[in-house]
């Protein structure tokens, strides 16, 4: 079946999800909702969209679940081999470039995914965003998925380069909850992870609840 251009676009951009990342002074904060959709059906309410690739690199996924899971397996395979053969830790920059090459090499039958790579580089902490064909963009704030237009609005209006990880967590929570309120394909719960000098850390249920409570308190 030949997909018409508009149909193809629709397929590519159907990424019912909200994932965000914020670059902070002392690390990065990564966040995502947990809703997995299949059309108008919610297939899972606690899907995992933030993945620890190495102790210093996180990957968020959006898009077709099978494609995203395949990408995670492929990138882990390659990074493990790299670290064993070269005797050094992969940087987020290299992981992003690797993903970009993999995606571009498959551009005729693309992996329908929007990815964020966040983590440690030689010059500090960085975030990178990839589209299905492998375009690679580095930025201070980024969001992917169907809820991203809402999330990015919040991030952009409140972000500053001087932000710390603690403030970044709050900002990420705010952007995610806003997107989840107005985007049907995002919702249920949020996951937040940080990468700092102590490595990768995923926030516990309590920590997330406290964060949301603080947020509500601030708004009223």
């Amino acid at each position: 079946m030949v997909l018409l251009p508009d149909k193809r676009d629709e397929l590519i951009y159907k990424t019912g999800t909200t994932t965000v990342a914020v670059k902070c002074k002392d690390g990065v904060v990564i966040g995502a909702d947990t809703r997995v959709t299949a059309g108008y059906y919610i297939a899972h309410k606690h899907g995992k969209k933030i993945h620890k690739i190495t102790p210093n690199i996180a990957l968020t996924i959006a898009g077709v679940v099978a494609d995203a899971q395949a990408i995670i397996d492929i990138v882990k395979y390659n990074i493990n081999l790299y670290e064993l053969r070269i005797h050094k830790k992969m940087t987020a920059k290299s992981a992003a470039r690797l993903l970009s090459v993999i995606l571009f090499n498959n551009r005729l039958f693309p992996y329908i995914t929007e990815l964020i790579v966040a983590g440690k580089d030689a010059d500090g902490y960085n975030i990178y965003r990839l589209d299905p064909l492998g375009s690679l963009i580095s930025d201070d704030i980024t969001a992917t998925g169907s809820g991203s237009p809402i999330a990015i609005g919040i991030l952009e209006s409140e972000y500053s380069k001087e932000i710390t990880v603690d403030e970044g967590k709050m900002l990420v929570a705010k952007a995610l909850t806003a997107a989840m309120k107005r985007d049907v394909a995002s919702g249920d719960d949020i996951d937040i992870a940080i990468i700092t000098k102590d490595g990768y850390y995923e926030l516990s249920k309590e920590e997330k609840n406290n964060l949301i409570k603080d947020l509500e308190k601030r708004e009223t």
Binding site: Y82, R85, I86, H87, K88, M90, T91, K93, S94, A96, R97, L98, V101, A122
Partner: protein, 244 residues
């Protein structure tokens, strides 16, 4: 029919002799031992590669036969059967570019030395081929700005050095370097030392030709110096080490 008992074990390289040797590989190593001198040193500023070069009449001095820039951060010096080296250097260049393409970073020196070693090893195990008759010194600066020097030999093994010397009269040269080399030597001083070592080891007084390749630790740039640059260092070496 076959009087010497070892007859035949040096014909096919894939066959061990009864006492566990691969003669063709040993002959290839002998080629290196008879090649002209090349060396690589780690200095406090980065890496220095140097090679003694023979020039025939009317040969263009700007053409480097034994020293190569592999990537921005890496150089190589060969000794032995130089054309074999050229082929391997080209593989190394491709590997460096592939590392940049796939990971957006320069390659580590060890990775390139190991992979070239892998290629050399495969030529000691397959039929219908002969081993590469070269040793190659890979010198360079890793992305984390640490300098490294590795030597690959015809068998495919690769070894890390502070000071690597390959080719004819390597033993004598090494002895002279051993007396004067310290890990905190500057590249400038190392160039004088190398010239002195080659002067003493080869016994060549006039018309000695040395080519240098310098890789600076800070800017990670490999630079091939023109042949006439060595004249100054040879003169300084003669003065400093009292060579007449």
């Amino acid at each position: 029919m076959f009087p010497p008992s070892q007859m035949g074990y040096d014909r096919a390289i894939t066959v061990f002799s009864p006492d566990g040797r691969l003669f063709q590989v040993e002959y290839a190593t002998e080629t290196v031992r008879r090649g002209t001198l090349s060396m690589g040193l780690i200095t406090k500023d980065g890496v220095l590669l140097a090679a003694e070069e023979y020039l025939t009449d009317f040969q263009d001095e700007n053409f480097s036969r034994k020293l190569f820039i592999v990537d921005m951060n890496m150089g190589a010096a060969v000794a032995g059967y130089v054309p074999d080296g050229r082929i391997l250097i080209d593989y190394a260049r491709e590997m460096c570019q592939y590392q940049r393409l796939l990971y957006d970073e320069p390659a580590n020196v060890e990775v390139i030395a190991k992979r070239i070693g892998d290629i050399k090893q495969s030529y000691t195990q397959h039929g219908g081929v002969r081993p590469f008759g070269v040793s190659i010194i890979f010198g360079g600066v890793d992305p984390d700005k640490t300098p490294h020097v590795f030597v690959t030999d015809p068998s495919g093994s690769y070894i890390k050095y502070y000071v690597a010397v390959i080719g004819a009269r390597a033993e004598e040269t090494r002895k002279i370097l051993k007396e004067n080399y310290t890990k905190d030597i500057s590249t400038e001083d190392a160039m004088v030392l190398v010239a002195a070592a080659i002067l003493k080891a080869t016994g060549i007084k006039e018309d000695l030709k040395i080519r240098y390749l310098v890789i600076n630790k800070e800017d990670m740039k490999a630079e091939l110096l023109p042949l006439e640059a060595s004249i100054e260092y040879i003169n300084r070496a003669k003065e400093k080490f009292g060579i007449e």
